[in-house]
């Protein structure tokens, strides 16, 4: 009976989205309440103002502490002190879910409605074991950012496939050994997993109460062998991203292209202001152009915490914040956040898209939207993301220091370190060597 009602509801929602969009959001009948929220993005206030107009009984107090994981970890262990709504990167969300930081909100945001509003893959970043804890805000869909001036100067073409990517990289290395076609980060597991994801693969997953780890599957090996060859031969350099050297290389035009999440557009605007007009964006190179794919690097969601005294209001808020066109418009307008995860983004696309001066007049919103639509798979990150990340960083530093000779050898070592860490954290429900 419940199933029937739910599917009827789903049908109703499909219909209602079309002509009565605002019926999606439940009415708030509770007591007037003030919610607290921690988020490091700096313009959530505009959306909050719109929200408070629609829900006068729910006020939202937003606080910004930068990346607040230290604070959050302390409050979680203490059993109190989290705000009602907490911003967390998708890759760290399972860790916080496993720590018991979040409370399920299915009651107010059932799965059908979530999928309707945010799409199926997003469930993997916001839910575990069928319990939905929050909503996704921005997309980390991978894009290729490149310097048009360097490409033109050296006669490079924008690579459509990874084979072309390798060709162009070698070509530039030969033309001018001081320039990098692109660099890869020293560490930053997100990036490397993003590459495997972009190839349509994964290295871990979760299903029916079991964690699956398999780093040495054919897709992951293909990706690591590809980069390994370029790195071993010196075509591609490993660089500490976000370091002063990296900032320097992007500001003086030593690097021709960057493969990274689509939020990077805004980063460039702020951190390489004098390269205005020189950058362009395109979807990342493909392994099989006939069957294009994409993955993500980064992106964050807003989750309702177990310490919230009013999860109902918080649930309504996160639902509205990350899917209502008014809010999406604000987030776009004031923060240039790629809030493309919500399916309702389509409703605001025309309004927010347009030529972008920094990108030489390119309509980057459309390109990034195209890149995001190619993200049609997703998987659950392991609940020990920090350890996954640190393990890779150490191995890559070993490679840079000459302690590891062949780059591709890193993959099985990384798996070993991750499996060991899972055991150390007391997970005995780990399946190694296969994926569901």
């Amino acid at each position: 009976m419940k199933q029937v009602i739910l599917s009827l509801l789903a049908v109703f929602l499909v219909v209602s989205v079309a002509f009565a969009a605002d019926d999606i959001y439940p009415e708030y009948k509770g007591e007037p309440v003030t919610l607290t929220m921690w988020a490091w993005t700096s313009n959530e206030d505009y959306s909050i103002r719109e929200f408070e107009k629609v829900y006068p009984n729910i006020k939202v107090q937003w606080e910004n502490f930068g990346v607040h994981y230290t604070k959050a970890q302390t409050a979680i262990a203490a059993g109190e002190g989290l705000p009602d709504v907490l911003m967390i990167e998708y890759t760290f969300a399972p860790e916080f879910m496993e720590l018991g930081a979040f409370v399920p909100i299915n009651q107010w945001l059932p799965e059908e409605k979530f999928v309707k509003l945010f799409g199926e893959p997003a469930l993997n970043w916001c839910a575990l074991d069928g319990k939905i804890y929050g909503t996704p805000q921005d997309s980390g869909a991978i894009a290729l950012f490149y310097r048009k001036d360097i490409f033109e100067k050296y006669g490079l073409t924008v690579p459509q496939t990874w084979t072309e990517f390798a060709e162009q990289a070698r070509k530039l290395r030969q033309a001018d050994p001081n320039l990098n076609f692109a660099t890869v980060p020293l560490g930053w597991a997100l990036w490397w997993i993003g590459q495997i994801w972009e190839a349509g693969g994964k290295v871990f997953d979760y299903k029916d109460g079991k964690w699956y780890i398999d780093f040495t599957n054919p897709v992951a090996e293909k990706v690591f062998n590809f980069w390994g060859e370029l790195i071993d031969e010196g075509t591609i350099k490993i660089e500490q991203w976000w370091s002063p050297d990296w900032y320097n290389s992007l500001n003086v035009g030593k690097t021709a292209a960057v493969i990274i999440g689509c939020w990077f557009a805004e980063w460039l605007r702020y951190n390489a202001p004098e390269s205005e007009g020189l950058w362009r964006v395109t979807i990342p190179p493909q392994w099989d152009p006939a069957n294009p794919h994409n993955g993500m690097i980064g992106g964050s969601g807003f989750y309702v915490t177990t310490h919230s005294k009013n999860p109902e209001a918080a649930a309504i808020f996160v639902m509205w914040l990350n899917s209502h066109p008014e809010s999406l418009k604000c987030l776009h307008k004031y923060s240039n956040l790629p809030v493309m995860v919500s399916t309702r983004y389509a409703e605001v696309l025309d309004e927010v898209a347009g030529p972008d001066k920094f990108f030489g007049g390119q309509n980057i919103v459309e390109t990034l939207w195209e890149a995001h639509k190619l993200v049609d798979t997703a998987y659950v990150a392991l609940p020990i993301q920090t350890n996954v990340d640190q393990a890779l960083g150490l191995l890559l530093q070993d490679y840079v220091d000459g302690k590891i000779k062949k780059f591709a050898d890193i993959l099985p070592m990384w798996e070993e370190a991750v499996v060991k860490a899972m055991k150390e954290f007391g997970y005995d429900n780990v399946v190694v060597g296969e994926l569901p």
Binding site: Q73, A77, P244, D401
Partner: protein, 294 residues
């Protein structure tokens, strides 16, 4: 008579000590006792369960904890004595200089201490960056053309550079302020007897401020064993293991892995080790400073 006087004196002593002791118990001792209890628990998120001494047994067999002591020991044996020696020299130089000039140098040497760690991290990571380092021309001149400035092997050396920069002036400043209280006649008498400035400095004045020097040793030793900020800031340039120092391992365990009770247990073990290492100096300090106590 003696007994009541002593009794009164005990009462008065604790009266003067009371504000400090009350606060100390409140924000230091009580949390530590609380921490001792927590260290007997396993923990994941807010869930805790009693495990007895299991955390301590794990620490004994956790190579990552013990490996972390390499850097602190290096600092303890090299950085601490060297820096205190330099600071003493600088403090005497302040004394010797005309007052205006001394004030100027004090200001310059004090500068680094005011620069907060997050800012120092940005500045030093610029100075040690391969593409922009102002040291590059110097290094090229010395024949290190194309050598990467920062790899993992160089880190201990770089730590010395940063720590000396940060704390030498501070230490000199503390020594200097103690020297100010040394009666001038001592030095004048010695100099009339034919001693040079440096002889007077090291054989007459230094022994008079040895209490301060001992204290500086102890607090610098604690600082060395708990070193955190400096290796942490180099993390922007080179990947260091999460257990590069004991304090980094404790920080990571608590705030990155969410294993607070294990981190607390490690913190207590670290404190015991610090205490044992500094016990000799501590006893010396209590003899020097509490000449009349028991």
């Amino acid at each position: 008579m003696i007994r009541t006087r002593r009794g009164r004196s005990v009462f008065k002593a604790y009266l003067f000590l009371a504000p400090f002791l009350v606060l100390f118990v409140f924000v230091v001792v009580y949390p530590i006792i609380f921490g001792v209890r927590l260290s007997l628990y396993g923990q994941r998120g807010a869930r805790m369960w009693y495990v007895g001494f299991s955390n301590y047994r794990t620490i004994l067999g956790d190579p990552r904890f013990w490996e972390a002591f390499k850097i602190p020991l290096f600092l303890l044996l090299v950085q601490v004595p060297l820096m205190i020696f330099l600071a003493i020299l600088i403090a005497f130089v302040y004394e010797r200089m005309p007052r205006g000039r001394a004030a100027f140098y004090r200001f310059i040497h004090y500068l680094p201490y005011t620069i907060p760690a997050i800012v120092a991290g940005i500045v030093w990571s610029y100075i040690f960056s391969d593409s922009m380092s102002p040291l590059r021309p110097l290094l090229d001149l010395l024949g290190f053309v194309g050598v990467r400035i920062l790899n993992r092997e160089h880190v201990p050396l770089v730590l010395l550079v940063i720590i000396f920069w940060e704390f030498t002036g501070y230490t000199a400043f503390v020594v200097f302020s103690a020297l100010l209280a040394v009666p001038r006649e001592y030095a004048e008498q010695a100099q009339i007897d034919g001693a040079t400035f440096w002889q007077t400095a090291f054989f007459i004045k230094l022994p008079l401020v040895r209490g301060v020097i001992t204290m500086l040793f102890i607090f610098n030793a604690i600082g060395a064993l708990q070193v955190f900020n400096e290796p942490w800031m180099l993390g922007a340039l080179v990947v260091l293991p999460p257990n590069y120092t004991p304090a980094m391992y404790i920080y990571n365990s608590a705030f990155a892995y969410g294993r607070f009770t294990y981190a607390t247990a490690m913190g207590l073990v670290l404190a015991c080790i610090t205490f044992l290492i500094s016990l000799y100096v501590l006893r010396m300090a209590s003899r020097q400073l509490l000449a009349r106590g028991w």
